[in-house]
Subunit: 290 residues, 2 copies
DNA sequence: AGATTCATGCAACAAATGTTTCATGGCCGA
DNA sequence: TCGGCCATGAAACATTTGTTGCATGAATCT
């Protein structure tokens, strides 16, 4: 017999299952198959759905070593808790110094960031893009390291909406722009921990003005996400290293721009072509060699 | 006002948050920040941890349109149900046009970019970082969409080497800076197809001056990579979409900064701490809540 | 300044929760 | 067949749950 994985209450359950009375096995299997409901719904509720007696759940818990259903559920709940500490936390220890310490640091970082990208929720991006599409004007704000994201977004959106996109604070102090927000416009704020006062002020001004507020942030509880119509989440701290990762934010920004462009249809395409023609005429680019 | 993202109860909460009474905002923030506990633990329990009155939770739920806390929690529970977490199974199904065409576009894009990151060669980054570490001064140049990468790199490097890092072209025309390159310095140029004349001129000037040239590019044959001491490659076109992907370049930039910082040792750490202390003193950041 | 609205904490409430007890029914060994 | 054992369901239990009414205090309006 293999060593049981004692860590998870679910494995304890599975191990003890065969030696249990018939009815308790039934209930046990139900719990194992519906452990999410087990943590969220009430015992009686589960009993009704499983077609069993409520008491069976208490008996099951005691049979596998818990003081009662409450304790079992608490264990299940903890086992299910989303990893508050990133899975890559204790990663760099033990590696320490070595000739390739730098290289492994980079590899870890890249791997972690690659893992974070598919976890970005796509649906909110699509919804935010639609909001952008319907906005008369788009404001973009980002400070400190997030400024780079803001400027990228500004650049890409201006390629096909040149006169309707503007960075907050480029033509004077921020405060000048904060008063210019209008309900038919959209404001994009980018930020993550630690949050700057400036970004919070922008988002508050946007909310007050009635403009559509889109926040690109690392947490739903970010102060600039309060009152936002759309929040686009990425993982800033998921990667080892000294600075929060920006790949997620960049990926979101580019997806946002791409979908917004796609919504723009033929008109957007035409404007993009115009812009490119102008740049070519100004010989901005080095001609491709055949 | 734009159509709010009604899908998630958390977004409804965020939207309504700013217009709520003070105490309700407090518990609302607490719920948003601890939504997992909100679905699993009891109202009184949460109230004790949040340092608020249990009644506040009921009032919060009613304030944002639910019949009571029970209903809000049920909504949160459903929003968290893991059954929704199966987006990556049958992804490449006939996507074409449809209500979710945008979403699948985004998912494909993210997936492709995630796949590109681990393919970035780490060794050249480590070597380039060493070159940066030994440089008396660091110049950074990037144009158009690559400007965002340049500015990010500039920002992060300046955190611990404030007086030795400079963006090309910030204090006047580029040409002024181009004549200032010295052999003991390093010049970083970022660019990909189509290549701008400006970036090529910077790299040529760097090469002529004898400075160490580091190119972050999408191809070894990129004109700004000619004569470069270090070329850091990423895949710009790997992802579907209309704009070349910048996640690779961002990842490289951040890795470069991280390794350079790590090479800096205690001195770099000290300077970073000083910078952070100065920012805190200027109250740039919103203080974290306990 | 007085009146009024509103936010907020406290305490009591009914409903629902997990647990326990008890009676029943089936099973196996004498 | 009888007697002990245990699994099982129903009902009663004490506790905890979410809710609501009420008093207090601060802010706003007249």
């Amino acid at each position: 017999m293999a060593e049981p994985a004692k860590s998870s209450p679910l494995s304890e359950l599975r191990i003890a299952l065969p030696s249990l009375p018939l009815r308790l096995q039934e209930v046990g299997r139900f719990v194992a198959a519906n452990d999410y409901d087990a943590t969220t719904r009430s015992m009686r509720d589960l009993a009704a759905e499983a077609g069993a007696d409520p008491a069976a759940f208490t008996r099951l818990a005691k049979a596998i070593g818990y003081s009662g259903w409450d304790e079992l559920r608490a264990a299940l709940t903890e086992a299910r808790r989303p990893s508050q500490t990133a899975p890559f936390s204790g990663r760099t220890r033990g590696r320490r110094h070595g000739p390739n310490a730098d290289v492994t640091l980079i590899l870890d970082k890249l791997e972690a960031e690659a893992a974070g990208l598919p976890r970005i929720p796509a649906q909110p991006i699509a919804e935010a893009a639609r909001a952008l599409h319907e906005s008369k004007r788009i404001w973009i704000a980002g400070y400190r390291s997030c400024r780079s994201v803001a400027e990228l977004l500004n650049y890409e959106l201006r390629l096909f909406r040149p006169e309707q996109v503007q960075l907050v604070g480029t033509s004077g102090p921020d405060d000048l722009d904060l008063g210019a927000f209008r309900p038919s416009e959209a404001v994009i704020v980018i930020g993550f921990l630690p949050y700057t006062h400036a970004s919070v002020r922008v988002s508050q001004a946007a909310h007050r003005s009635g403009a559509t507020l889109i926040a690109i942030a690392d947490s739903l509880s970010a102060p600039m996400a309060e009152g936002a119509d759309h929040v686009l989440l990425f993982e800033a701290a998921s990667s080892p290293g000294f600075f929060p990762s920006l790949t997620g934010a960049i990926a979101i920004a580019q997806s946002l721009a791409a979908v917004t462009f796609s919504l723009g249809g033929a008109a957007a395409k035409k404007r993009l072509e115009n812009t490119e023609a102008r740049l070519t005429a100004a010989s901005t680019y080095v001609p491709e060699k055949g």
